[in-house]
Subunit: 377 residues, 2 copies
């Protein structure tokens, strides 16, 4: 059996690295972006199209899937891969973030969190262990531990108390994971999550605790929640400085294309974010020549392809003028085309990053791209 | 140059016929169903997917395209085919039906109809000639004449007056079409439309007038507007009895799968209808084993493919249980999958009809299918 993670190359001029994650559902080259498939679907995009766009892994949301369709249905189908007929890797978050951001009522105790469904108000309880069990049923290739994603801003006192509970949950999660078996016929791997708000000492302490517990990979959580970008990057830096080189690092919920490049430079391997698909539904396109709001009148007669830099359907198939018409006319196809374009762009971005790290030109390329985009804003 | 229409075979036991329409954008085997692409998009379905589903021709709506994106945009792109990047045949209706069903205010005079846009209330005027001009700009392969689609029920007096005007418009339309050139670099063909409400004598008289004027094909309009189904089929019968055998016949806006089979039996070659796509968006599936409301609780755990009888994506790719989950969760992908399934079914239906007419078993097959469906309702 090959290693879960193989570090292939580290950049000479930065912490950027190229690697490979191996799961029973296939290999994932890193750095990688994971399109978000909250409810067992990447919104408005067919599974077959995700494959055509070169998606290597997608993310599912434990909280959402637990509520709908529920674990009875997912179990009956033999896990999420079969349910949605996506046979490439899946990572699921722990549900923690959604409990704290979506649930109208929630109460933490030492073992877990009581919450109400945002759909029907029904009562539920997540513990460190139950969240592992749920992800055993979902059958995600990569499982995340339950934690509290603290708000920003938060006091030192708040973060101190919050991180103590979350570290305790992480320990219980790992224990339960190691003492339980996969529900389906393939391996699962588990990541710990580093929290600590924007306090360097808490971040370091937390990460050290996670390393001591020992996970298959490490995530950095609780960022991109409103803090300044330089603060976010500082937290990333202090984390990747401590993290073991032979395990993948995942920056949760980040972000804009420039954030992704800056985080890759600081040694991050994995990303997920709703921005490409959510912004797509608001007519904001990410393209190799910069951001475009395709509702803009200036595209009314535009015969330019959506993104001439991407040799994929639909980027090279439709014009900006046609896509604008679809948005103005509120046609469903607009949402699908724009979502596919933005996913194609994010996947192009990480593919390019891998190539540039491999050939030793990552930092120059990154700077060039950031310049280009700042001129087209 | 090959004939526009070639009659290949007529059924021995009915008026059902197999034929072939040849346009500069490709051949269309008949009987055929045309998915409706109102605003230059078949709602929720990619152009590439329409090709994968074996769509041979789609329909566009002159009224809608005239208002959005407008003729300036369509002209700039060199016609609708290029605008939407659909290089197979397109038929456009004349806009008459939409003026009479959507416009909040309209006034007929002898030359045309004044109306207000249902979007912004702006004033417009369609004449027999201007509607030909608009369709020259759209560049549809098959162009329809302007007519009044009379409501149901309507008095003999109303129909008598309405048909006189529409026949006059048809004459002017044909004259203008024959005296004008295609705007783009390919041929266009023009169909007349038979009206006459549910009055046999008016239907016959109208059709005879259309034949006298002489078109490339003939449509039967003003049906499926609320009249009983046997009345609709009677009107179809009296029309196809008179229509020349060497021209295609198109039953506008019809209909349910059984209507299509019954009309094919009576000698109709072409169909369009919003039912497959509109009902899809309401979770109603048409499948080879009958109609399914996929929101039904009984499909919650169903691992059955959407339609095992159709060897197409997405019919054979997803389960009813997964599609139900997408509808219950109001996910956009549901609308796309269901629309594709229903289009796949309608195209399968006409493809099967062609095969059965060819091998002489059409009537038996039709009766078998109607029996099967009535048992699964």
């Amino acid at each position: 059996m090959s290693n879960f993670f193989e570090l292939i190359k580290t950049d000479k001029n930065s912490r950027a690295r190229v690697g490979k994650i191996t799961t029973d559902h296939g290999e994932i080259p890193t750095p990688i972006f994971m399109p978000v498939g909250t409810l067992g679907t990447v919104k408005a995009v067919h599974q077959t199209d995700l494959i055509n766009l070169d998606a290597k892994i997608i993310l599912g949301n434990t909280y959402h899937l637990y509520l709908r369709p529920g674990m009875e249905v997912i179990s009956e189908f033999g896990g999420l891969h079969n349910f949605m007929n996506w046979q490439r890797p899946i990572l699921t978050d722990s549900g923690g973030y959604q409990v704290f951001s979506l649930s109208p009522l929630r109460k933490i105790d030492k073992d877990g969190v009581h919450f109400r469904s945002h759909i029907d108000g029904s009562k539920h309880y997540f513990t460190a262990e139950s969240v592992v069990e749920i992800q055993r049923k979902i059958g995600s290739d990569i499982v995340m531990v339950l934690d509290e994603c603290a708000p920003y801003p938060a006091t030192r006192e708040y973060i101190s108390k919050s991180t103590k509970i979350s570290i305790d949950w992480a320990r219980k999660s790992r224990k339960h994971f190691l003492n339980s078996e996969p529900r389906w016929s393939y391996n699962q791997f588990q990541f710990g999550i580093g929290q600590g708000g924007v306090f360097v000492d808490f971040r370091k302490e937390y990460i050290e605790q996670m390393i001591e517990i020992g996970f298959d990979g490490y995530a950095i959580g609780g960022l991109s929640v409103g803090e300044p970008k330089d603060m976010m990057m500082e937290m990333v830096e202090v984390s990747t400085e401590l993290l073991p080189k032979d395990k993948p690092r995942y920056l949760m919920g980040v972000g804009m294309p420039d954030d992704i490049l800056n985080a890759i430079e600081r040694g991050i391997d994995m990303f997920d974010c709703v921005i490409p698909t959510r912004n797509a539904r608001n007519a904001q396109l990410f393209t190799t020549r910069g951001k475009i709001n395709v509702r803009n009148l200036k595209y009314k007669f535009s015969k330019e392809p959506i993104d001439p830099g991407l040799d994929f359907y639909p980027s090279n198939y439709y014009t900006l003028g046609y896509l604008r018409h679809l948005f103005i006319s509120e046609e469903l196809l607009a949402l699908s085309i724009a979502s596919m374009q933005n996913i194609a762009f994010y996947l192009w971005l990480v593919r390019q990053a891998r190539d540039k790290i491999t050939d030793g030109t990552f930092v120059q390329w990154k700077n060039h791209l950031l310049d280009l985009w700042s001129n087209t804003k």
